[in-house]
């Protein structure tokens, strides 16, 4: 038993590692520039006058998020890409440069071209901000940073040259610089070394990288900060977790309390009207998509529109915190009835089917026949001998049901507007608040694995016939 547990826990680690790599990889692929997303609230890039200041704030923020580090411990890429590409902090610029490198393969020239854009930007910054052509030139430059296709870059360079020429203040100062920029770009095209794309290059980045930072923070329950409101993800989740655990706990409890007697009765009177009716009804229930039922209940039972305004409207009610506990309790309870029902009926159908199957298996056993033969009454046979033995697998199922109910509550929380984990996740997806999304992904995976492990261990513990010491 101990060995089995140890083995399972050891397998846990590589699985978790794989999942963490998946979550990290997805979060790196998620669209948007993390620095800009995480500082949407204020301060960044708003003032034209303090461009240099904005640049400094951007760098600080990027450093704070660890984005000035390489992504992973190592990387294998064509030799055309430099091993320091990550030092270009702005995602759009970095991707444009990577595309140039992927096309022309000569990083030295591309870097020189990039530097001369920066030089030109610096020169523009020296000029008075109200110089007439400066604004247009600046915006062309910003687009030049992000451009990678030949046609686009050429047209931007032409535009830039025209803007500088036309402006009497800019012309004499900058036309040389613009010409230099154009030459750098021509050099990139002329001295292309596409063969470098075919030479693999292994790059070792060491421990100081983004993944290492993220996963070690994660293991210490530091999940980072929300891009949306800069609150620590852990705080946001703590609030949400309460509601999710509450409604899921209630739902699973209700499902168990109802389904066990239902399953036992329909197994004992197998083939009776009750059995057939309940099997059919449960099957229908099981097939009803919970989000349809939830929508229907919300539409018909929470509005006066159809004369069935039996339940309060969506959300959790709006009583202030200082209201007496009992009235708050009643208010909340009334709001939770429908969501808990929607969450529980699916599990109810599933568990009672399992209970029925388990009971049917047990009832066929010899020892039940013995119990009948020695003259026990039906209550003793059913509840004392059969029920107990059929109950074990149902109890151990608890651990594996919980994660599935948990995932199912995503849509229920959205429909009934309950601020739980599901609603948090969906909101985060729409707000592109990736730290929250991928933390939820990781946590739910850990929960699921733990649930499966617990149910397996419980099963082995309760039923000594199950042997895990060797694989069959």
């Amino acid at each position: 038993m101990f060995q089995y547990l140890l083995k399972r826990l050891l397998i846990f680690i590589p699985t978790l590692l794989a999942i963490s790599l998946l979550a990290f990889g997805l979060s790196k692929m998620a669209p948007g520039d993390p620095v800009e997303q995480s500082s949407r609230g204020g301060g960044l890039g708003d003032a034209q006058s303090s461009l240099a200041n904005a640049e400094r704030v951007y760098r600080e923020k990027a450093r704070e998020l660890g984005l000035d580090k390489p992504a992973f411990y190592f990387g294998i890429s064509p030799a055309a890409y430099p091993d320091t590409l990550y030092r270009i902090l702005r995602r759009g610029q970095r991707e444009a440069l990577a595309k140039l490198a992927g096309r022309y393969g000569n990083w030295e020239q591309i870097a020189a071209y990039h530097r001369s854009i920066q030089v030109l930007e610096g020169a523009l910054r020296q000029l008075p901000a109200n110089a007439p052509g400066a604004y247009a030139a600046r915006s062309s430059l910003q687009q030049l940073y992000l451009a990678h296709s030949d046609a686009r870059i050429s047209s931007l360079l032409d535009g830039l040259a025209a803007e500088v020429e036309q402006d009497t203040a800019l012309g004499p100062v900058l036309s040389g610089t613009v010409q230099g920029l154009r030459e750098e770009y021509e050099a990139v095209k002329r001295q292309a070394t596409p063969w470098k794309l075919y030479i693999p290059d292994f790059k070792w980045h060491g421990l100081d990288n983004q993944y290492h930072r993220w996963i070690s923070g994660f293991l210490q329950f530091d999940f980072g900060k929300s891009y949306y409101d800069s609150r620590p993800v852990a705080h946001k989740m703590k609030d949400a977790l309460f509601w999710t655990v509450l409604i899921n706990g209630l739902a699973v409890l209700a499902a168990y309390l109802l389904s066990i007697p239902l399953g036992v009765f329909s197994a004992v009177w197998k083939g009776s009207f009750f059995d057939r009716a309940s099997t059919l009804a449960l099957f229908m229930l099981y097939s009803l998509p919970s989000f349809w039922v939830a929508t229907m209940l919300a539409v018909f039972l929470t509005t006066p529109e159809y004369g069935m305004d039996w339940f309060p409207s969506l959300g959790l009610g709006s009583l202030p915190d200082e209201a007496p506990f009992w009235s708050r309790f009643r208010e909340t309870a009334a709001h939770l009835i429908l969501p808990v029902f929607c969450l529980s009926y699916g599990a109810l159908a599933f568990i009672s089917r399992q209970m029925r199957g388990g009971m049917l298996n047990v009832i066929r056993q010899d020892y039940i026949r013995t119990a009948w033969a020695k003259g026990l009454n039906s209550r003793q046979v059913v509840w004392k001998h059969a029920f107990r033995n059929a109950l074990f697998p149902i109890i151990t199922m608890f651990a594996s049901i919980f994660p599935s109910v948990f995932a199912g509550s995503v849509v229920i929380e959205v429909i009934f507007n309950i601020p739980g984990m599901g609603k948090l996740t969906i909101d985060a997806i729409f707000q592109r608040d990736w730290p929250v999304v991928y933390t939820v992904l990781m946590l739910s995976a850990i929960l699921t694995m733990a649930g499966i492990l617990i149910s397996d261990v419980l099963y082995a513990w309760i039923d000594p016939r199950v042997s895990y010491s060797k694989k069959q």
Partner: protein, 437 residues
């Protein structure tokens, strides 16, 4: 589907029974299946759904099926296909007016004279099925009502049926292909049977690495900028070529002493670990977080993601089947005849595992349809203008008085999912020998 899984587990027992019967296994299963009235009716309904999905353009369309204008005969619905393929063009007159404004000499409309995206401005803002509608005749009535911008609900249901069927079939086709392959690897070879020379293993690993590097790493620019499908095909071609080359090189290398030794690969452990990783993440969350990062949502991508995640069920099932099949006498006979392992797997072992796999496929289609409905209900990963059952159901949340938006699309989802579940149950029952008496 949870109930289905339980059914599948009880299946192992029917196998011994199978040999004792003279008939072919498939004939027995089919005969059993036909006794199950619910399952048979579900199958019939499925045909209806398939018909609707295939011929949806002729059932709900703003264009007439046949019309005569100015002495000329047109078949606009058919022409739509030709135009879509680039074989024909619309004449100018069809651009100038919308379809219901022409003066037709004679015309045959589709049963529902609206497309899913047709916006009927006169009947916008949630027109009820039973309420007053501003239509020229009963022929143009919105029998199931409209949504806020005036789209016909019935037409939306038809187009939703097409998408649901497509999602179910395509994603489960992907899942089945991957699942069959992985499950066969794990089940047939187990942990001990897969033996290959070290040179072959090494060369395949090298070939894979080189294929990924030259096919994808070095071609990153072409892949992101060129026509995607074509470039992807070329990249995959490079990958395949690199693997073929590696295997060609492996044969002569085998002569070297160290490289020639056989090594064992525990296929079962590898595949099962992979399945465990995927199953550890709740499918809905995984699909959500993968689909969410796509900047341009598309239903094709959703189908691919569902397929790539849902293969584990099929794989586990095939694995269990092949674990049993591989020890049967006819497989031993095939091995004794000197057939290659791959030939035995694909020609002899997998065909016998296919019928039971249908059960998981049926349940899988149901859950894929449900998952897609979920996603479009939440509005993640599906383009906003695409009309699906889930997206229509979502509209009901904006306007509680529009009961028709809550009832009809939801019922369509319910019915489809139930049909597939019942077929799956029916198949599972048909393969269960305890019911054969």
């Amino acid at each position: 589907m949870l109930i289905g899984v339980k059914k599948e587990k009880g299946l192992a027992e029917e196998m011994a029974h199978r040999q004792s019967m003279g008939q072919s296994y498939r004939a027995i299963v089919w005969r059993q299946f036909r006794r199950n009235r619910m399952a048979v009716w579900s199958l019939r309904l499925l045909y209806v759904f398939l018909f609707i999905a295939l011929f949806g353009d002729f059932i709900a369309n703003e264009k007439p099926i046949y019309c005569r204008i100015g002495g000329q005969t047109y078949f606009p619905v058919l022409r739509q296909y030709a135009v879509g393929l680039g074989l024909a063009k619309w004449e100018a007159r069809f651009f100038q007016k919308s379809w219901d404004e022409h003066e037709y000499e004679s015309v045959i409309w589709a049963p529902i004279p609206y497309s899913a995206g047709t916006i009927d401005r006169k009947n916008s803002n949630y027109v009820s099925p039973g309420g007053r509608q501003r239509v020229s005749s009963a022929r143009f009535r919105h029998w199931l009502g409209t949504d806020q911008i005036g789209r016909d609900v019935a037409a939306g249901l038809i187009s939703g049926a097409r998408i649901a069927m497509m999602v179910g079939v395509v994603s489960m086709a992907i899942a089945t292909l991957i699942g069959l392959f992985m499950g066969a690897l794990a089940g047939y070879f187990g942990d001990e049977r897969f033996r290959a020379s070290r040179s072959r293993l090494l060369m395949n690993l090298l070939g894979l690495a080189a294929g990924i590097f030259y096919g994808f790493g070095a071609r990153a620019y072409a892949l992101s900028e060129g026509p995607f499908g074509w470039e992807l095909l070329r990249s995959l071609g490079i990958l395949a070529g690199s693997l073929v080359l590696a295997n060609l090189l492996a044969a002569p290398l085998k002569r070297l002493p160290w490289l020639g030794k056989k090594a064992r690969v525990p296929m079962d452990i590898i595949v099962m670990r992979l399945i465990e990783v995927i199953n550890s993440i709740p499918a809905l969350l995984l699909v959500l977080s993968v689909v969410a990062i796509i900047e341009k949502p598309s239903i094709l991508f959703v189908m691919a993601v569902i397929g790539l995640i849902r293969w584990t069920g099929v794989a586990r099932f095939v694995r269990a089947e092949l674990l049993r099949i591989r020890s049967l006498e006819y497989i031993e006979a095939a091995q004794a005849l000197g057939f290659s392992e791959w030939r035995i797997i694909f020609r002899h072992a997998i065909p016998n595992a296919l019928t039971p796999v249908l059960i998981t496929v049926a349940f899988g289609v149901a859950s894929a349809i449900l998952l897609e409905a979920f996603l479009s209900f939440l509005g993640v990963g599906v383009p906003p203008q695409q009309v699906t059952w889930g997206s229509m159901l979502n509209l009901a949340r904006a306007q509680f008085s529009a009961w028709w938006l809550a009832i009809f699309p939801g019922f369509a989802i319910f019915l489809t999912v139930t049909i597939f579940n019942l077929i799956g149950e029916g198949l599972a029952d048909a393969m269960d020998p305890r019911l054969k008496h």
